[in-house]
Amino acid sequence: MPAPRTIFDKIWDRHLIEARQDGNDLLYIDRLLVQENVFHAFDNLRRSGRRVRCPEQIFAFTDHYVPTRDRDAGIADPEIRNMVETMQRNATEHGIALFGLGDVRQGILHVVPPEQGITQPGLIVAGADSHSSTHGALGAFGFGVGVSEATHILATQTLWRRRPRTMRIEVSGRIPLGVAAKDIVLHIVGRIGADGGVGHVIEYTGPAIRSLSVEGRMTVCNMSIEAGARAGLVSPDDATVDYIEGRPYAPRGEDWDRAVAWWRGVATDEDAEFDREVALDADRIAPMVTWGTSPEDVLPITGAVPDPAREADPERRDRIARALAYMDLVPGTPLAQIALDRVFIGSCTNGRIEDLRAVAQVVEGRRAAIPSTIVPGSGLVKLQAEREGLDRIFRDAGFEWRDAGCSMCVATNGDMLQPGERCASTSNRNFEGRQGRGGRSHLVSPAMAAAAAIAGRLTDVRALDRQG
């Protein structure tokens, strides 16, 4: 019997081309996902006189800079327009498939590939964006790369990498009503810290993770990077196979049977060992909300703004004080009393159809008390939501219903918070200035964002349900 292996080791071993004595391995990369910011990589290629080695394994997206409204009017800002046009030009020049403006499939580079069947179990999916960990939800080894590594992949379809350590996060128990995948991952980031996963790849296991839909798993894997882990994955199961079947890039016929056999075999073996183990209980997780400027600054909605004076560690005390100054929060304030200016729903973390259904469930028949925007993760998510009549529910509740893109999560297309504005956001980063200079972000689940929109403040979605 061969030694039991993790899914991560199986994927690594199958993609290993060459192992250097010093521990660096040359890995074959199945798919590279690129977006507008990668223009430097194409410039690098051009300067060095190299070409894209395997264009059919590269997928290009316009998502960070595209407008999410009034698309017919074009892009007024010349710098922003240039980013979108440069991506289009580079894709055309190098023969790369582009999911661009005018294509109903256009959307975020972490929403579209699973939707299209481009992401499959057992693959190595590199993305020129840190949230490429999302693809791990399907049992792929997905991780973010910078422009230099993207250039390396474009030129060679490979990457040098040292094998990271492995961490298993086992989530047992049942997920309580009103608690979402987002709450689980926020809880995890709070528990292990923003640097807890540095140097590691995380596998999420346990009944609570198994009970999540594939989309919910994407939300969890997406935020692995917020705990410092470049990749997070879930071993494939029936839900994974069902999810992929019939998608445009999914294998068919005989290919399908061979693919499914490989996918099932790639799952982590029983008794496989991990370098680090973390266990938590889903039953104890409540809807979460961040209060500070790191995703690790997170508490249940029933909690209160922490008091730096009660913190023994001076470094941590300073950090909390600094975060509270930026967030303009007073220690001891109940989180559910924090008034908001705006709500943003969308992003690669929470811009999929199930996220929008969760929002619709909360807002149906109610009215948003503050400006609230919904940005679907892809054109197909938008279309699906409209088929289900969700857009009607959103509009009737006073929400703005936009076109697909990263929008206010990264605030590079012009959608951004104004200085001092406070926002409940389903995105992934509450860093200082992330959603606009001086903007204050509270990360929450889609249902919690919906409840916040109705209440005009942070609120416990479970309480809103009781009020009817």
């Binding site: 081309i17 060459e18 250097r20 010093d22 060095s48 790369v145 990077i225 061979r258």
Partner: protein, 206 residues
């Protein structure tokens, strides 16, 4: 890439954990070309006040740290986004070496490929170096990649570990694409077998 061998320069203490790449380079500058304005984008929203003037409280703006080429950070420096432009900004401002207990994984990989040396040392050692950089400012330190050690005034030399491949690339100013392409035959061999086994991955969508 310019080779990195040995650097002696003023070190600036930057004692905050989880400094993210949005802070290092705010996202709105990513669309700008890498030209002579790039150094100004570094830590922009902390270095400059909303009216565009320098923030006198920000450490890089203190006179003793002008010209600093070594930054001594804290845990998880460079976490968050994969934007390599954060490294461009550090590099173009003049930083050649960073010292911290840990770095964001993607950030550290980006540093190596831009001739910016990330030195990992134990937390208490880094704190000690930060103290020297703060109390004896402007304190010159030496980062010697060949010998893998850091020299600071008033204390014994500290050795550090680095991946041998990263060291080789930095010392030689090597482009790892060249290294890989020298082994292209092995890649082609691997790929031929891989494509047979996973033929469906190469079919166009239907």
């Amino acid at each position: 890439m310019e080779p990195f061998t040995r650097l002696t320069a003023v070190a600036v203490p930057f004692g905050q954990s989880n400094v993210n790449t949005d802070t290092i380079l705010p996202a709105r500058f990513m669309r700008r070309p890498r030209d002579e304005r790039y150094p100004d984008y570094l830590f922009h929203d902390r270095r400059f006040l909303p009216d565009g003037s320098e923030n006198p409280d920000f450490v890089l703006n203190r006179r003793v740290y002008r010209g600093a080429r070594i930054l001594i950070g804290d845990t998880n420096f460079g976490c968050g986004s994969s934007r390599e432009t954060a490294v461009y900004a550090l590099r173009d401002y003049g930083f050649h070496a960073l010292i911290a207990p840990s770095f964001g994984d993607i950030f550290a990989a980006n540093c190596i490929r831009n001739g910016l040396l990330p030195v990992r040392l134990e937390g208490d050692v880094v704190a000690g170096l930060r103290d020297i950089a703060a109390s004896a400012a402007p304190a010159e330190m030496t980062v010697d990649l060949e010998a893998q050690r850091v020299l600071a005034p008033g204390r014994a030399a500290v050795g550090f570990d680095i991946d041998p491949f990263d060291k080789e690339c930095l010392l030689g100013g090597l482009d790892d694409i060249d290294v890989t392409l020298r082994g292209e035959a092995a890649v082609a061999r691997f790929e031929a077998g891989y494509r047979r086994e996973f033929a469906w991955l190469y079919r166009r969508s239907r």
